[in-house]
Symmetry: C2
Subunit: 320 residues, 2 copies
């Protein structure tokens, strides 16, 4: 939610000389994403997003993300695409940082998705997965199962200060997930962070998805499990089965996953809840007092994890 | 440089029902100004800035600012104008805060103004002053001379920790300014914060000015003194007489101030430097460690103050 690197007009104008997108008419730092600096740039050719990648993004991962956007857009998925400079390259440097210009995607995030919108999200995720099947880039999930224990080790000592008994609960959950994680799920490129702030709508119709900077190769059904966590709990913490059914049916109507993958949803949802519980817990414990970027309360994901622990089968998510 | 209040799509859409500016296609929180929350809003009618006024702005001052923009734009000055809702009102409420939709002004700030651009700024300030002469709204300068001592009283105890001898220097300067401030300067509506980030250029031509939230009634030549402080010092701290001459001549070509006002420039420049030294000192001493909004180093204005203390006459600013 911030601009970390200030780009002067002089810097911008010389940067734009490398591109064929006209001259700048305005640019505004926008409060989007916590990881990078983003500018909404207007030129006489149109609107663009200028992104400077800050230290939390690994520079060697950037070609994977940018090429993925190109690939998905070519397959017809509504997502931003990198603008290639005159030399053909999408990845450049600006103000000492890796930087790219990305096309502007119209649309707005919604706060309180309806059942119908959840269905559209399911359809969109499935189309993303199908479009990614022949993408040749690879990137391991840097926040997947093998990374949860090291992350927990950094938080364990202070976990109980956030919620009594949290240390024990996470330790037990990690033991369970490590020994029960399903080994043979259908794999592919997943978005891995498809929260409502990364999905755009216009007039209640999904107009596209953004922010591919967590995308990686992992189980497709795990991405669906992330979406269930992100879209199907109400503000008070209650699980909305109707929304989950709509989301999953939307997904399966486009990409009918193997039966075993569907039945793995309860454990995958537990994993997804633990992943966000752990990263939020880490950010919470390492927060800076008074900083403008407020870390999100990790305990919301504790509640979600507890819900999934009680789920017996895909039926718990409205599937029969 | 932040968005303090998050506006949901649902909030925005019901807010827009009060206006005739079409339906929202996108809106992005922008990192502009440290006082308010600003969104760049695109509708099918065009681009707008949606501003939510946060606590540092006095709500009872807002009609003065909004009506002033209307008045100045009507007189032909290039500045944003408030969009009036169907009921004729420009000031509304959104998310519990006073809010307004303002027209979008194209253009970009410059970091290193040229002599020619300083001249354009001078012309623009003069036109602003002339356009404001028949504005009927009034607002005292909340950061004018009578407010500097109370501000200093809140900083005095810790001033020397910022720069050795600062406490004494400010105390002496306050004594001097209070006893020598010229009593009969030409008055009018001044911008009072015309720094480079509030002046837009397109292709090196001044395309307009923004951010009227410090505007008030005060001495016109004091506004020029603020501009000299804001535009005519180089990054290394050196005063650029050529730029000052260009700025002042640009101003005087449009609005020939009385001789006494011009000769008062040294003391007015000292006052302007002290005003920014004091507010920056206050923000510096009251900063929050780790906060994203970094307070500006007050000592830059200490150097500027020292320069003005040595100025004997308007000739020090390139005027003859």
């Amino acid at each position: 939610m911030a601009v970390y690197t200030e780009v002067s007009l002089e810097d911008l104008e010389s940067f734009l000389l490398q591109y064929d997108i006209g001259r700048a008419l305005s640019y505004k730092g926008i409060a989007e994403g916590v990881e990078n600096s983003n500018y909404l740039l207007q030129t006489d050719h149109g609107r663009f997003i200028l992104t400077l990648y800050e230290k939390r993004v690994e520079a060697h991962d950037l070609p994977f993300f940018l090429n993925l956007m190109d690939h998905l857009a070519e397959k017809g998925l509504a997502c931003p695409v990198p603008v290639h400079a005159r030399d053909g390259k999408a990845l450049k440097r600006l103000c000492g940082r890796p930087a790219a210009i990305i096309s502007f995607l119209e649309g707005m995030c919604i706060n309180r998705p309806t059942e119908k919108q959840c269905g559209q999200v399911g359809v969109t995720v499935a189309r993303l997965h199908l479009a990614g099947l022949d993408y040749t880039g690879t990137r391991a999930n840097a926040l997947g199962l093998p990374h949860w224990r090291p992350l927990f080790d950094q938080c364990a000592a202070h976990a109980d200060a956030v919620a009594p008994g949290l240390n024990h609960l996470i330790a037990d959950e990690l033991d369970f997930l490590e020994s029960h994680w399903p080994p043979e799920l259908a794999q592919g490129v997943i978005h891995a962070d498809l929260f409502p702030d990364n999905v755009f709508f216009i007039d209640n119709v999904c107009s596209g998805i953004i922010d591919f900077y967590f995308a990686c190769n992992d189980a497709l059904a795990y991405d669906l499990a992330i979406c269930i966590n992100a879209w199907c709990f109400e503000r008070g913490g209650e699980f909305n089965t109707t929304k989950a059914r709509s989301l999953c049916r939307g997904y399966l109507s486009e990409n009918p996953l193997p039966h075993a993958d569907i039945e793995a949803l309860p454990i995958l949802c537990r994993g997804a809840a633990l992943r966000f519980l752990l990263t939020r817990l880490y950010d919470w414990l390492n927060r800076i007092e008074g900083a403008l970027v407020k870390p999100k309360d990790p305990t919301h994901y504790l509640e979600r994890l507890r819900f999934h622990q009680k789920a017996n089968s895909a039926a718990s998510y409205g599937l029969t």
